[in-house]
Assembly symmetry: C2
């Protein structure tokens, strides 16, 4: 997550804005959620989409989102292990938010010199 959870909600009515942000501003959470909009992914599938995230961070972010009820984690008792991550209904309801964030980002790409054009890199 970003800042310490729930410590900045004493500011209504803008609170709701901050509240939502606390759930999705952990590093990489936004991208992960975005990718999950396309469907269930295994742990390593997500990893491969985000080459520069360490395993530790990815696990951490995923667990937080699971704790927040945004995604579900399904462990299959196999070897090698298989763990599927998918959006919950609540997570899927973030779609408008995620799309708004993405659209603004694309529309203001000039602010992010290091961002490759949407759809470019090895990600997809």
């Amino acid at each position: 997550m970003g800042r310490t959870r729930h410590d900045r909600l004493d500011c209504s009515p803008g609170c709701a804005v901050e509240a939502t942000l606390t759930l999705i501003d952990g590093k990489w959470k936004g991208v992960v959620l975005f990718h999950l909009l396309d469907g269930t992914l295994r742990f390593n599938e997500i990893r491969r989409k985000l080459p520069s995230v360490t395993q530790r961070m990815l696990t951490h972010q995923l667990r937080e989102m699971e704790a927040d009820g945004l995604i579900s984690r399904t462990v299959f008792p196999q070897v090698p292990p298989r763990v599927d991550y998918a959006l919950t209904d609540r997570g899927r309801s973030l779609q408008p938010v995620l799309m708004a964030l993405k659209q603004w980002g694309d529309a203001n790409a000039d602010l992010f010199p290091q961002m490759k054009p949407s759809g470019t890199c090895d990600a997809a």
Copy 2:
């Protein structure tokens, strides 16, 4: 800002989501932008809306948003000083994003036990 700027944009196409987040996830930035949607505000007006933010943090966040071109800062050569903050066109274009964030937050208020009902506190 949240994380170090522009260090997580190597993950297209979800990058745009993260990119936008880097601009608005600084603590309190979301609320400040939200309040500015209603019009220009002086420094202390913003402070009074967010009683729990220190002056140092508020100044810091405002300066960052100014640097990112989201808000404008107008100093009036008066004493005592007067400084107006307002959204730039770019900042105003965040409205859909901010509204999406707010709506989701309100709709999922159960996740934020400490959040007062929208419109409650001394903020408005």
